[in-house]
């Protein structure tokens, strides 16, 4: 298992290189750059050139890419307290906008927000997806099953950004309520848990519904299939209670494909967070990258896409490891 994890982690290196290069290349194919957007309409060609020079955008593309990668990977010694620890420099560059802020500084501020959004969303998705899926599978054809299936189709069909806007609009119209971050910005959990939960409840719920619907449908079909197996029939014939048959014998096996879809949904979740953070005014990484794309802030986009790629690969690695826990027959050589 250890070797497997190590191999998977090593695979991250070419993946990160590939992702960063593709992002770099594709982003430079889009017309317009940060210099043009800062200069706007009254910019003379000379000023534009000066600005490109100041931003380093007048260098050949391969030099820009090489320097960016080198700034991230350059070996340095970090000092954590008195302890010197060698490692890569992790300098992701700085914003090309007026702020000139280092990307790592912004990420330090924004990662906790996106991280919390993703974690709360995933918890909600599992809570809203698996129990209805199980109920639907063990009571097929009943009104409960029908309700769960119709609900899942509904949540899959509704775009999350639209639902988000509806939540805000109805919150204001009916309850004169808007999320707290609209009036005071982000409040960390440790500063005020109650306000923090209010900030994340609806964005997470809106994001979670579509994922929960997919999980529910897969749980239902997977559990239905498992419930038809011989060993389940044997369990019934032993006179075991329904809860034992379903929860102990059937569900664990049925969850393997569900786990796969959960891993893959991390990508959708990251994509969804880009819009939902904007709608709910959460200053997370998703909103950061969306604004950076509009402003052609190359280093920010490259860095965040890289980060998302790492998050996606890592999440799927965790899923792979969990397979072994769910089904002891699965072993990685």
């Amino acid at each position: 298992m250890r070797n497997y994890i190590l191999r998977r982690l090593l695979i991250l290196i070419p993946i990160m290189l590939g992702v960063s290069f593709l992002t770099f290349a594709m982003f430079r194919m889009i017309p317009g750059d940060a210099a043009v957007l800062r200069c706007q309409l009254g910019c003379t060609p000379e000023v534009l050139e000066d600005l490109r020079h100041e931003m380093g955008l007048d260098r050949p593309w391969y030099i820009q890419y090489r320097d960016w990668v080198w700034d991230i990977t350059k070996p340095v010694v970090h000092h954590i307290g008195p302890v010197p620890i060698p490692g890569p420099r992790f300098d992701l560059g700085h914003s090309l906008t007026e702020s000139r802020l280092p990307v790592t500084t912004e990420l330090d501020r924004r990662l906790p927000i996106t991280g919390e959004l993703l974690v709360v969303t995933m918890i909600m998705a599992l809570l809203l997806g698996i129990p209805p899926g199980v109920i639907s599978a063990i009571r097929p054809g009943t009104p409960l099953d029908w309700l769960a299936r119709v609900g899942s189709v509904l949540w899959l069909s509704i775009p999350s950004f639209w639902l988000g806007i509806l939540v805000i609009a109805f919150g204001v119209s009916w309850f004169n309520w808007t999320p707290p971050q609209f009036g005071r910005g982000y409040v960390p959990f440790l500063d005020d848990p109650w306000v923090n939960l209010q900030q994340f409840f609806f964005p997470s719920l809106v994001l979670a519904l579509a994922i929960a619907a997919a999980i529910m449908r897969l749980t239902r079909s997977s559990l239905l299939e498992v419930l038809g197996n011989d060993y389940i029939r044997t369990a019934w014939s032993k006179g075991l209670r329904e809860r034992t048959v379903v929860m102990r014998h059937a569900l664990k096996n049925a969850l393997i494909p569900v786990l796969t879809i959960v891993g893959l949904q991390v990508g959708a979740l990251i994509g969804g967070s880009v819009i939902i953070e904007s709608v709910f005014n959460l200053n997370g990484v998703g909103k950061y990258v969306l604004e950076a794309i509009l402003r052609r802030d190359f280093f920010v986009v490259q860095s965040v896409v890289l980060l998302f790629a790492v998050a996606f690969v890592t999440a799927n690695l965790v899923v792979d490891i969990l397979y072994g826990w769910l089904d002891p027959r699965i072993r990685y050589g």
């Binding site: 889009i30 017309p31 957007l37 003379t44 809203l128 204001v172 808007t178 009036g183 910005g185 604004e291």
Partner: protein, 560 residues
């Protein structure tokens, strides 16, 4: 700071076991949902906006906080360089003087007490001795001097990203005979400089601050009515009262807070929900109506200087003046006002209508732009282009669906005369970089920026382009160039008005290369307890002689 945290409050209280268990149950989804909606919590304490204070006609009272919702991120607040935080800069820095956009005249209510111009190239300022820097930073508490003015002018003039450097480039030399006399001499007359010096980018920053800080993008040490307390440009900006501001007892407010919400519907929802006192985004009349009808709010209005325009590339078929005139005749400007601008607005000539001093009389413009589809068809036929198919590129600006709305309306109007427009939405960055600046279009539609000086709007018709940035349309008219250049050097106002109007009358019959359309009215809403000061005028229509104080100093609230 520590006293205000949740945990301090939590541990100070005596908490029963049941309460702890109850708190744990908060995670339950249903309960949380109901509670979140029911508690109306999390706001900034700005209240319910129930109009419990006077209607703004009372005497200013000191103290309190006003929160403004802001639609765009403040990426930087360096007044000489950054453009996204200029509305914040004006609250933090001193300027030589202010500008009344309605009378289009300078107001000597800031750093300078007097300006003498013995000739058109000499500017002699007398400055106040009591405008002091904030009590923190490299120049803490020190009075602004003429040296600070020189250093600020130099920095503003040489910053790479500073907009429009024509004025600073013409400054030949500076003189500082003493701390309160600031003089500069220009090598060539440039009249728009008079307006420009009151722009937010011409802040006077202490020289000691400029020495110490290469960039003031993320920090500030100013001398205006408010001091920077907290800056998170994409989230929250908090300003606090400058205790030694020269216009004591102003500023009235203790703090002025900005909350950034970049999604326009969310911003408006937050304002409705009581999270902000001032809605920082422009409203249309239809949106503003709910606030006009509600006593909890005050709504002000002002003519909009944003003006939509169509640019034509001077090549076939647009090179033919008959085709350009046909396009002009096919556009129904009244319908644009009725449909897009809620029936309020006027026709724009080359100078937009709210620049009252410079714009051509409205009736003259309206007479010049009749809607005559039949004549348009005849002209197209005569020009050999009875049917034209043309792509019109326009920028996709987040939060501004009105751009696409106008394009669609014009498309339907032109269809009636045989011009088949094919709208092509281009992402904003690509629109500027790949469409407009390189002149890569047949027709381009965009909302032009608000200008309150005639030089900029006219420069769109100059062969050198906007401030010399290049000719996007290939249009060239040497006679017009001479007039545009002449007005920028004519110091006598009456003569300049004449030049500006002659230039406009030369542009109109050309029907290009930039077609102006209409300009509407924009609305701003705020809670009724927020007062913008003695110069506050509910309609904000032009008031000759009205004196507008330095920004922010006169804002007060009776909400406690």
């Amino acid at each position: 700071m520590a006293e205000s945290t949740y945990w301090n409050r939590f541990w100070r209280r005596r908490i029963s076991r049941r309460a702890v268990l109850g708190a744990g149950a908060v995670g339950a989804l249903g309960a949380a949902s109901a509670a979140v909606l029911g508690c109306n919590g999390g706001g900034n304490g700005n209240g319910d906006g129930n109009g419990n204070g006077p209607d703004g006609s009372g005497t200013p009272v000191a103290g309190g906080n006003v929160t403004e919702g802001r639609l765009i991120n403040a990426l930087g607040i360096d007044p000489h360089i950054d453009l996204t935080g200029l509305d914040i800069d004006v609250l933090m820095y001193a300027y030589l003087y202010s500008w009344n956009r309605f009378t289009e005249e300078r107001v000597m209510n800031n750093l300078a007490t007097n300006l003498e111009t013995p000739d058109e190239r000499t500017f002699l300022f007398t400055i106040r001795p009591d405008v002091v820097a904030w009590p923190k930073g490299p120049a803490a508490g020190e009075a602004l001097t003429s040296t600070d003015c020189v250093e600020s002018f130099k920095r503003r003039g040489t910053a790479i990203t500073a907009p429009d450097k024509r004025f600073p480039k013409r400054i030949e030399r500076y003189e500082t005979p003493n701390d309160t006399s600031f003089n500069f001499y220009m090598n060539r007359t440039f009249v728009p400089a008079v307006r420009e010096m009151a722009n937010p980018t011409w802040a006077i920053v202490p020289a000691k601050v400029l020495d110490k800080y290469y960039s003031l993008g993320q920090t500030a040490f100013g001398n205006g009515p408010f001091m920077l307390k907290e800056f998170r440009g994409s989230e929250r900006i908090v300003l606090e009262r400058h205790p030694n501001y020269f216009l004591k007892p102003r500023p009235w407010l203790d703090t002025y807070t900005y909350i950034v919400i970049t999604e326009s519907s969310s911003l408006l929802a937050a304002f409705r929900g009581g999270q902000h006192d001032i809605n920082g985004a422009v409203l249309t009349k239809s949106t503003a109506q709910e606030f006009i009808d509600d006593a909890k709010y005050k709504v002000s209005q002002a003519p909009s200087l944003f003006y939509p325009v169509i640019h034509m590339k001077m090549r076939d078929p647009w090179r033919d003046i008959r085709v350009r005139e046909a396009l002009d005749l096919a556009i129904n400007r009244k319908e644009i006002i009725d449909v897009i601008q809620d029936g309020e607005g006027n026709y724009n000539g080359p100078i937009q209508w709210p620049q009252f001093k410079w714009a051509l009389p409205q009736q003259e413009i309206r007479d010049f732009y009749p809607h005559d589809p039949e004549k348009a068809k005849a002209l197209l036929k005569e020009a050999g282009h009875p049917q034209i198919t043309a792509k019109v590129k326009y920028p996709e600006v987040p939060g501004a669906p009105i751009i696409a709305d106008i394009v669609q309306l014009i498309q339907s109007q032109l269809e009636n005369v045989g011009i088949n427009l094919q709208p092509d939405a281009v992402e904003l960055g690509a629109f500027i970089g790949n469409t407009l600046l390189p002149g890569n279009f047949d027709l381009a539609f965009f909302p032009n920026l608000p200008y309150d000086e005639p030089d900029r709007p006219l420069s769109f018709y100059h062969s050198k382009g906007v401030t010399g940035s290049g000719n996007w349309t290939n249009y060239s008219n040497p006679d017009l160039d001479k007039l545009i250049d002449a007005q920028s050097e004519e110091f006598d106002e009456a003569k300049r008005i004449d030049l500006v109007q002659r230039a406009q009358r030369m542009i109109l019959p050309e029907h290009g290369p930039q077609l102006t359309l209409t300009g509407g009215i924009q609305y701003f809403a705020r809670r009724s307890y927020v007062n913008l000061g003695p110069a506050d005028n509910e309609l904000e229509t032009p008031v000759p002689g009205a004196v507008y104080g330095p920004a922010g100093a006169d804002v007060w609230t009776d909400k406690r």
